[in-house]
Every structure is written in C-alpha cells, then in structure tokens.
Symmetry: C2
Subunit: 253 residues, 2 copies
C-alpha cells in the first residue's frame, strides 16, 4: 500500500492518502476543500486514481473536499451511515469493512467528539494503523461540546475501543497543532494527559468540562457545508476566505 500523510495548515488537518499498488486506486481520508489541487497533484505524481473519499465525521473546523473531488474526478463519497447524509455514496458501518483494491479499512464507531464519529483501522501486512479522527489526538482528544458531543461517550470510545488495540498500532490523528504526526496506542495509553495513564471517567469529564474553549470560529459554515459533503458557503466573510480560497479561485471548483 502506498501511504502519504498530507497537512492542511489553515485547519491543521491531516489528510491521509491510501493507494493500492495493484489496481492504482486510492482513497483520501478527511480531504480538505482548500487543498484539492495539492491532493490531486500528489495523486497524479504517484500515478493513482482517486476512487473514494472517506470522512471520519462531520467536521466543524474545515470543509471536506468530498463533493468537489467527486465533481472533479468522479470519486465516490464514503462517510458514516449514522449521519444519514443524502450526498453519501457509501454509508460506513462498524462490522462492514471497506475494501478498495488490496486496501481494507475497518470502521470503528467512536462517538463522543460527534455522535457519528468513526475511526478507521487499516492493517496492511507489516503495518497496523488507526486513523483516529478527532476521537484521539496525540496527547489530546477532540472537544465534546458541540454536535451531540459527549465526554462519557468519548471516554468509552477511546478507552474501550481504541485502547483495546495492541500497543504497536500506529495512531494517525486528524489534527495536530504542534507538528506532531504519529503516535501509537501504547504511547497514548501511557501518556495522553486526558485519557491515558489510568484517567478515570470522572477525571476526564472534569477535564473536558473545564476546557473553556472559544466558540469554534468556522463551525457555523463548516457543519452545514459538510452536511452536504462539502459545500462552500456563498456568504463567507472575507477573513474566512482562506477556508475555501482555492475553490473560489479554481475554474473547475
């Protein structure tokens, strides 16, 4: 399997490219709308055809590239079935692996950051990775105060589902704000300050309820846009133009 980790700096999002060397097909996990040209260039340089986009959840901090990539290169849109988005081609459910050429992705329902959040595990011979979305970040986790977020649910998702994987499983998060790129289940179990080294549910709930995070500045545009698989709002204020900058400028967008 061909693997690339791509970074989108406006929302500090990691997009993951998984490519099948045999069929030449690829998928992108959590592609970002303002990085479409970059993603297509990487795919082209690897001689891969984008067959599928796969989102971990309905993002609040960026707009998915799923719909625009479908319009530009014909990729199908995969996303959690539980969110019942009418624009989705492949509804993801736990227990039903997603197959693309030689690539198999096992969906893990990991609610808490959002109700419909999924992580995706991908075993490929010598590698065992989990794309943990916003459920588990390196030394952190996604917030739980919007989109039916629920600290108790997130605690269960991480400690009972993700931490049940073996220590060597690599953790590839959807974001990092300090240029960290990869961790492992063992690392997060031992040192994640919110969820690791034996944190109790009560401790986690106290941490999450005391974060005092600001209102997410892009959420009112991102969530409605992402419920349509990635529509950039017409009325985007000037100071938020970079979130859809590329799409506004691109003749194909």
């Amino acid at each position: 399997m061909i693997f690339r980790q791509l970074f989108e700096p406006v929302s500090s999002t990691y997009t993951y490219l998984l490519g099948c060397e045999t069929t030449g097909q690829a998928m992108l996990i959590d592609p970002v709308v303002n990085a479409i040209d970059r993603d297509l260039q990487v795919l082209q340089s690897l001689r891969l055809t984008l067959a599928l986009t796969l989102d971990t959840h309905i993002h609040a901090d960026h707009i998915t590239a799923a719909l625009h990539l479908k319009q530009r290169v014909g990729s199908r849109i995969a996303a959690p079935a539980i969110d019942r988005l009418p624009c989705v081609d492949v509804g993801i459910e736990e227990g039903t692996p997603l197959q693309l050429g030689g690539i198999q992705v096992d969906p893990l329902h990991t609610p808490g950051h959002t109700e419909g959040h999924f992580a995706y595990r991908c075993i490929d011979n010598g590698s065992d990775r989990v794309f943990s979305g916003d459920a588990l970040l390196i030394d952190g986790c996604g917030r739980t105060d919007f989109q039916n977020g629920d600290a108790t649910a997130l605690y269960k998702s991480v400690t009972e589902k993700l931490f049940a994987l073996s220590d060597e499983v690599l953790v590839y998060p959807a974001h990092d704000y300090q240029n960290r790129r990869v961790s492992s289940i063992g690392q997060e179990k031992s040192r994640n300050p919110r969820l690791g080294h034996g944190r109790t549910l009560e401790e986690f709930k106290t941490i999450m309820s005391g974060l005092n995070l600001p209102y997410p500045k892009f959420i009112d545009y991102a969530v409605p846009g992402n419920r349509h698989c990635g529509v950039c709002p017409q009325d985007l204020p000037e100071q938020m133009r970079e979130y859809c900058e590329h799409m506004a400028e691109s003749p194909q967008g």
Copy 2:
C-alpha cells in the same frame, strides 16, 4: 512481520522485536541484559525463536543482552563491523543488507553519538521504519561528548542520511524519557529542536556544546562490558545492581 516495541525502564531503552511469520525466526534490536527474561517470555508467547541480536552501537547506559542471549538460546550476535568487537558473529556494514527469513534490514552508518553507530531501516510491505538508535531521538538526539562522539558527524548523519528518507518513514528511537514511542522523519524534520526546522550545523554545535550534561553514571561499566558483547562487571556497586540485577539472580545467567 511480527513487531513489538519493548521498554526497559532502568535505562529507558526500547528493544525492538522483529519476527518472521514464515520461518518463526526473530531478531532483537538493542536488547538489554536485565530484561532478558521478559524478552524470552515475549518471544515464547509469539512462538518465535531468537536467531539474532543486533545492536545499534556500543551503549554507555546499559549492558547489551547479546552475549547472554547467545549463551541461553544460541542467537547470533550482529553489530557494526567498524567497532571490531571479537565477540561479534555478524559484522554489519552499510550496503550489505541483513536478511532473516522474510525480514530485511538495511544498515545506515550514522556516526556522531559514537563513531561506529548504525541505524537500521526495515521495509516490510506496508511499513517503513528506521530504528534510529541514539542518533535521532524524538525531539532530540544522543549526546556527542564520549566514545569519539562528534556533533558535526551527527549533524551530517541525521540531516543528510536519515532526513533523506521520506516523511512517512517511522522513527523508532533507542530511548525516550517521556514515554513517547514513535515519530516520523517528517515530524523530526519539522520539529526536532536540535536538528529540525532548518537548524544549521553551527546552531547544532552550539546546542550540543552547551548541554552541560552530567558524566554518564554507568558508562565506566557499560562500555567495557559491551565491548565484550555484554558482560556484567563483577565489581558493580550496590546502587547500580539493577543494571545487571536479573543476571545476578538468574540461575541460567
């Protein structure tokens, strides 16, 4: 390939187990003498036979388990040829891959922490790892003030040889003192405070010459012992007994 990352807490050393599922043979990279029983138990639980031990360099902070493992289970000892240790069965050189069943390890001469230091790269289908020894640690690097250590050489080893690998190559260091377990070349290139984000050689030399680290407390025992592939000193002071504790107590030791 079967892969395990094992931690030895006295010296905060990571030992890596690489096992071939086809032949049932395994190698241990940087095994530690006081963790022999743990390592043999893990091998047994995985139904693997230890065929080889492989050290990255002559360690100053712990005693390698190479010789004792050879005595106990007949494993061969591989180590950098440049160090000319008479106890070594397989002298490692850059350009000559080490093969064990389906596992291939490519040695990379990476002097600087010690003159004879090697990193080992292992590509296994979907995984691409470099066992970076003490040359490159997560957000750090090994010291350069003993054993012909040389900051200029280490700078070249890391920036010209390890950073030449692709961003997604996983970095598995020989140590971490904060429970971090894995990084990637891309992560270290972008955020290693000593060697990443465009540090110049002059900056690196200034950092290394200003570390003011204490004299390594075990070096006078470890280096001579490791020059014999892991001999525990007879005259070990009581307060250092934990470095060889197991061997002193083990009837097979």
